[in-house]
Symmetry: C2
Subunit: 188 residues, 2 copies
DNA sequence: TCTGCCATGTAAATAGTTACATGATTAG
DNA sequence: CTAATCATGTAACTATTTACATGGCAGA
């Protein structure tokens, strides 16, 4: 978590709220987190000297937007973490758990839940593709830094595409017909 | 977590250790967890009446294998959870975070880490495919219950396949060559 | 003999969620 | 005038990891 925030701040300074927006909703593809956690983490990192906070002068009299900036120490910390090998993200698939014991529920219950998740994943894929279109229109003309960021996004797009393909497969095997009969968006 | 354990116990009674084995290592595709967490969770569920524990008579004098069995109440609890809509699993991608700030490290550092993860995902895919071969050799001849369990596994296989495709894409874009091990493991 | 697996746990620390709280601004 | 969004936080709770602890049994 710490490092996800530092990585965002390494791109540009941001307020807690901006980081939260990036970590939440359909477009999030790095690290989902609640605003409470982000604010707490930011304050902790400020105490450790990884970031500095400047009271950003805003228009009205809102709760004083605090813009956070990564320090040399924070950059160093982040670089160290990147260099040190990390584990794969632990697997946690509530939907797969539901399927494993799916015989305890009615087929309608299962297919309704599959449909809900399918729509959520489709929504997410569309949001991600929009980000790709907006920020990485021409993938062959990117700087090395942009290539890496593009690949991070491509990874999430690949993930969501795999989900949609799996929903198709599931529907076929279970003999379900999902609501909207459109094909899954093409990936690649 | 609770429900992942209950779902496994709904298939057949098991000891904490057996559940742990299922939730750990390359073949895990439901819910990764440490043994500490599983034992604690099992004891908690025993207190709540969702499972019963019987001291399984084992061969030697080992710490007395405790076999857990799901109760009617536990089944009801699990069925209720399956029926109630759940959120998508929150996104947490350390590798994507590393790429986002990848310019802070050397290209070799990045490509080494990509290669490590690629190998781990390949290992995982192989373990999953072995499970599919072992338990679901003929997907067209499965009971409804088995179909659902097969799909849970297929989901994980789809995930790992997407990872490997993404590593290919990354290698191409970054001009990295993977799969050239120093000591060629190509043999029978 | 040594390593690794079987088999269970306690205790402490860190990570993450949920509930509660406040108040300004903007768009319909 | 109402709802959503901007913007920040505290407190309590739940989930998860890490470190410590024990001891038998099997195979090289």
């Amino acid at each position: 978590m710490t490092y996800a925030i530092l990585a965002v701040l390494a791109q540009r300074p941001a307020s807690g709220y901006e980081i939260f927006k990036r970590f939440e909703g359909a477009g999030a593809y790095l690290w989902q987190a609640t605003h409470q956690q982000i604010y707490r983490e930011l304050n902790g990192m400020e105490a450790l000297g990884y970031v500095t906070a400047t009271a950003g002068a805003t228009c009205g009299q809102r709760p004083a937007r605090r813009v956070h900036r990564i320090t040399e120490q924070g950059l160093q910390q982040l670089a160290d973490w990147i260099a040190e090998p990390c584990d794969l993200a632990p697997t946690r698939e509530p939907l797969a758990v539901k399927l494993l014991a799916g015989h305890l529920a009615s087929p309608q219950t299962i297919s309704r839940e599959l449909e809900r998740h399918r729509l959520a994943h489709r929504r997410k894929l569309l949001a991600l593709q929009k980000q790709a279109d907006d920020h990485f229109a021409d993938p062959m003309a990117l700087s090395t830094q942009q290539q890496l960021q593009y690949l991070a996004l491509r990874r999430a797009i690949g993930e969501e595409t795999a989900w949609l393909a799996w929903f198709e497969e599931s529907a076929k095997l279970l003999g379900i017909r999902f609501g909207t009969p459109e094909r899954a968006p093409i990936h690649g």
